[in-house]
Amino acid sequence: MIYDELTWKVKTLNDTIWERRFVWPDIQAWLDNFADDVEGAPSERLHALFLLSNFTYFNPLLMRTLLRSLYRDFVQQPALIRLRRRRKGTLDIASLEAAYKRVQRTMRFVGMGNPAESGTHLLYYFRQENDLPTKLFVHLHELYEGTARSPKIAQGVRYVIFIDDFCGSGTQAVRYSKAHVARIKEIAPNTKLYYYCLFATSAGLKKVREKAKFDHAEAVCELDSSFTSLEENSRYFRHAAGADIDRTFCREMCHRYGKSLIHNDPLGFGGCQLLFGFAHNIPNNTLPIFWSDGGIARQWAPLFRRYTKVFKW
């Protein structure tokens, strides 16, 4: 019966949030990666279905909504609060709007990472959703002027805001910071550098705050350790459906299959064990059983395929 209840839940998710990405044969093909049920033993497929029923997928509409939140909560409202405070709590909307426009002109939004990566990909929707002028969006090199020997920060730029979709372990943001942020700080110490992402694990965000040179780092949705799906304080197993679902078994199963898929990170990059995915891609911090195709090592039918980055050529 629990299998039916989970199927029911997955269908509801599929019909609503998942935009009908799947029909059952797709899901069945993924479930078939796992071993057949054996009498008297915990069912691998049931546990896989259980994890799937807890998978959080953000469709384009939700992503756009989150991008609105990011701008409103981390950029616009804090700036407006400061401006109003400076004007002794004025209620004159026109003067505040004019002041905000002036501040806005000194902002530059930069996508985190390479132009072909997801942080940059989001900027298009970020601009649309928040009705922002295109000139506020620049490539990294456009932040500079002057010569290569004596570079300066571009005139009129006071705030550089790095946008990202996901911060898992925080490694990428720290690496990026070392490469670029430190340099900007060196050239123009008064320029404020912010790192804002849609999702971040608490550990990842902590690492960015401690090891990167951003003046401020924040995430719209912060994922605490309860999102680490297979560990003891996992939120998913807190009300797990009866005796048929066992966290320890599930962890062992995910680790075993994960090892054969992504040898170094069987439970997702940085051991994050996430059950997360976006319409445009799946973070590698999510359990590989969902997204890996097994490469040449083995055949594995992924459900939410991840498009991995190719670093070498």
Binding site: M1, D4, T7, W8, K11, N14, D15, R20, V23, W24, P25, D26, D37, E39
Partner: protein
């Protein structure tokens, strides 16, 4: 690649949401002689109240005989007039929900002021609806100009106070009524602020409602024999005084008018009239048509035909069939329940998975045998070896169904305190004989009555869902409510698509898609068919408790009744509160009242009898066909539907179910047996 985006032909199940052409295309009727349109008698003088549960098809039927649909069939102008004359009626359809009836109340005004304003307002409202239908009917028929002018002249004379600008055409007259209605709306809407009701009543009660049709019939000779029928839908939206007003119109009806009132089962708040406050009586002042009962009481073949036509129209519209000529046999589109005598298809799969492992119900039986410690009046305790012997005798590996039936029979013997080992021996032999084809065996007899229940127990014991499969099952489940059938099919279709199937195009609709769809439809019905407010909560609780009781009895060791989904009770011994919940549950179609009731087994008294609506059966794994009925005593009904304390119901369940449950079968331990459990039990053979 299979996608889920194919058009669901069963979307749009509410007639109010359908366009006129959809009302026409989706309408189905019983064959001539049993036709619903004939049953509703549109041209009859006697008013009719059409009672029906939500989704019984009242709106669809009333809209089908409305002028808008008549004009689609006949056209307008001279052709339309001839068509309407042939029909013998012109239907003027109105939804009472559109009145915002709650406005006509309070705001510092006396009740009689509202009564008069409401009457005046309805003359204007119905009058406009009438004029709109007539205007469309005549269209651009210039030949009728004189008659129309004369009609308008006569209509104007119906006003007690002359209208300021004398109208010359139907359109102008209608505009005049619209202006008066707007002024009245303005006065009503502002009366809460002004505490005044600045309305001038320019008409006597009913003068337009009756006067306009009379004037038209007098001047338009083609329409002289036509009845002008006001089709008032959603009557349940009116308050009691407002219903009294319409009841008065029904009572004081004048030629050539007629009334058909569509109302939910719970919606008729009063049959009283204004003034002398007389009461309208069925078959004297009005005729009643109980639509869902009407649909339920048709023969199975007629119901199946009706349902098939209903579905075929949808499939035709969505392009799943090419015409209505029967190129798609609906029952053949669905996987159906295993009809093999020994249920081989179902059980072979189980055997394949579990091999020769002892069946779960035999494990349970063994536990009960070993745990039966000197229950009063029962056999002495059973040793483990003896229990194993009994289980071995009852085991029957060639057929799970036969084996489960043996266990069923064994529990019966146990409850009669027979010699358990001897009983098991005998039942085991009978099982083999039955399987070999012998007739007249206990297995055959018990399966004649209890087959559905034993299969249900077998499914439950082997951790499988109950089977509600096949088109015919869905028709039965709809219980006379066409919307229920469409809703089941809507969900089944969605699940079928989700499972990657191509319903009604290729292959069969799988059992899993059907089971999930049915369950979703049952949940929808439970949420949808309930009264609002506190009473609705009581009905839900009462129904949940009833469902739980019936389920526990059905899946007990020794159910006393077969196919249990009904109960009977002497309502005279039931509290008022419980009676109200019962009435509400029936009005909202959660319970179906069985007209002839149930004769009490001990005396000649005929008790009221109710069946759980078959749409709800999957919620509690109940059967959809009624055979047995549980006879409940008054306090048991109270505890189920209006318990004073929560534990009242638990006691009822415990007392009822313990009688059907091994090892005690309701017997209490006596002191003697308390001592006996210290003695050695039944020894090894």
């Amino acid at each position: 690649m299979v996608t889920q985006d194919a058009l669901n032909p069963f979307d749009g199940v509410k007639a109010t949401d359908l366009r006129d052409e959809q009302i026409e295309e989706y309408f189905v009727d019983f064959p001539s002689g049993a036709s619903l349109v004939q049953r509703i008698k549109p041209a009859a003088a006697m008013p009719m109240i059409i009672l029906g549960g939500k989704g019984s098809g009242k709106t669809h039927l009333m809209r089908y005989i409305s002028s808008a649909l008549q004009f689609r069939r006949h056209g307008t102008g001279p052709r339309g007039i001839r068509g309407v004359a042939r029909d013998g009626y012109l239907g003027i359809y109105l939804r009472c929900g559109g009145l915002n009836a709650e406005r006509f109340h309070g705001k510092g005004q006396p009740a009689e002021a509202w009564r008069d304003v409401f009457a005046y307002y309805n003359d204007l409202w119905l009058g406009q609806a009438f004029l709109s239908a007539v205007d469309k009917l005549f269209g651009s028929d210039l030949g009728e100009n004189d008659a129309i002018e004369e009609f308008v002249r006569r209509a104007v004379k119906l006003f007690d106070v002359p209208v300021s600008k004398r109208p010359r055409s139907i359109a102008q007259l209608s505009k005049c009524l619209a202006t008066l209605q707007r002024d009245t709306d303005f006065a009503i809407n502002n009366s809460s602020l002004t505490r005044r009701l600045d309305v001038q009543l320019r008409l006597s009660r009913g003068s337009l409602i009756f006067g306009l049709p009379r004037a038209l019939a007098e001047v338009a000779s083609d329409l002289a024999n036509v009845r002008f029928v006001y089709l008032l839908d959603e009557f349940e939206n009116l308050t009691e005084p407002q219903q009294q007003y319409f009841n008065t119109l029904l009572r004081e009806r004048q030629e050539p008018c007629g009334f058909k009132i569509g109302v939910r089962l719970y919606g008729m708040l009063t049959y009283r009239t204004l003034g002398a406050e007389e009461e309208n009586r069925e078959d004297a002042e009005f005729e009643a048509l109980r639509l869902d009962r009407e649909l339920r009481d048709r023969t199975a073949a007629a119901r199946a035909k009706f349902a098939t036509d209903l579905v075929r129209r949808r499939l035709l519209e969505a392009g799943y069939v090419t015409d209505g000529s029967g190129d798609l046999k609906l029952p053949e589109q669905f996987v159906t329940a295993d009809d093999d005598r020994f249920l081989r298809k179902e059980t072979d799969a189980y055997r394949k998975r579990h091999g020769d492992k002892i069946s779960p119900y035999l494990v349970t039986l063994r536990k009960k045998l070993c745990g039966a410690k000197g229950v009063s009046g029962s056999v002495p305790p059973v040793s483990e070896a003896a229990a194993d012997g009994i289980v071995q005798r009852l085991r029957f590996t060639p057929s799970l169904l036969v084996e489960r039936t043996s266990v069923f029979l064994f529990y019966r013997e146990w409850s009669k305190q027979c010699d358990l080992v001897a009983s098991a021996e005998l039942i085991g032999r009978d099982a083999q004989n039955f399987f070999d084809g012998a007739s007249g065996t206990p297995h055959e007899r018990v399966l004649t009555h209890y087959r559905a229940d034993i299969i249900a127990q077998l499914l439950r014991d082997t951790n499988q869902r109950q089977r509600y499969l096949g088109f015919d099952t869905f028709v039965t489940m709809s219980g006379g409510l066409p919307r229920c059938l469409l809703t089941i099919l809507k969900h089944v279709f969605t699940w079928s698509r989700f499972y990657g199937e191509e319903p009604f195009r290729r292959g069969l609709i799988s059992s899993q898609a059907q089971m999930h769809g049915v369950r979703e439809a049952a949940d929808w019905f439970f949420d949808e068919a309930r009264a609002p407010g506190v009473q609705g909560v009581r009905v839900r609780r009462g129904m949940s408790q009833l469902g739980q009781l019936l389920r526990d009895l059905r899946f007990s060791d020794k159910p006393s009744e077969c196919s249990l989904c009904a109960f009977s009770a002497d309502l005279g011994r039931v509290s008022g509160a419980a009676q109200m919940v019962l009435a509400e549950a029936e009005n909202w179609s959660m319970l179906i009242g069985i007209p002839r009731g149930q004769r009490d087994r001990n005396d000649a008294r005929v008790d009221a009898k109710f069946q759980v609506h078959p749409m709800l059966a999957p919620r509690w794994d109940l059967p959809i066909g009624r055979r047995g009925a549980l006879a409940l005593r008054g306090p048991e009904v109270d505890a189920t539907f209006a318990p004073v304390r929560a534990e009242d119901f638990e006691k009822v369940v415990e007392s009822r179910v313990s009688r059907m449950r091994a090892p005690s079968f309701g017997r209490r331990r006596s002191m003697a047996q308390e001592r006996q459990q210290l003695l050695p039990g039944l020894d090894d053979e």
